[in-house]
Symmetry: C2
Subunit: 130 residues, 2 copies
């Protein structure tokens, strides 16, 4: 059994930050669960475009307020606590954060922790990253 406390992981090697977000890697590929699990904090006033071409991701909103735009369809969905979006078509999307978000995120295949967001908003596939 793995037990980890997010409150103690900020500022450690399992926490990755950019100016507008912090992602705490609760489970990564080497935990061998078959998915990875992240708690991601996004700052109010920020806008992000992501396109996980090689991963499925689900995102559940624990706190915060904002919206997601599906770039392919132009549809906009409001995000607030209790709302989940799942990128089952590797959907390219823009996330706008009005109030600080806290998200619970699952990735399949699991993120290894060595990915970087590429210019196109994607992560490399596991074999490209290796």
């Amino acid at each position: 059994m793995i037990v980890r406390d997010e409150n103690k992981m900020h500022g450690t090697e399992r926490s990755v930050s950019a100016e507008q977000w912090t992602s705490v890697r609760m489970l990564l590929a080497d935990d061998a669960m078959g998915f990875s699990f992240h708690i991601t904090h996004i700052k109010a006033g920020s806008v992000h475009t992501f396109h996980y071409k090689n991963h499925f991701e689900s995102v559940y909103c624990i706190k915060g307020k904002g919206r997601i735009e599906d770039i392919a369809t132009g549809e906009v969905h409001e995000i607030e606590p209790g709302v989940m979006y799942a990128l089952d078509k590797h959907d390219k999307h823009t996330l706008t954060c009005d109030e600080d978000f806290v998200f619970a995120c699952c990735f399949n295949p699991p993120v290894t922790g060595n990915e970087v967001h590429r210019e196109d908003g994607s992560y490399a596939a596991p074999d490209e990253a290796a």
Copy 2:
């Protein structure tokens, strides 16, 4: 893109309840994400023994207070917001809830929604359930 709101799913076919818990199935096997994702509410004062012999499960505590005992080792871990446990060895465990829990749970393989908790605390493997 799948978008679902947990607040609107209680009392629907995607919400499963027993006396002491409710599990809202945000993502199931047929969503084809490769994992399932559930928001599970557990009532204060309840004690549960589970043994997912055929699934890996991770559980992140959003709200509540209690503890988990690893039956094999006797170790007890306090659970409060921010703590995650992951049953990477299909660990048999007893969960004690002191204050109402809200958990974000991921399962691999994904739960189909047709499983029942068996007497031994497990879910059947997908091929047994089929």
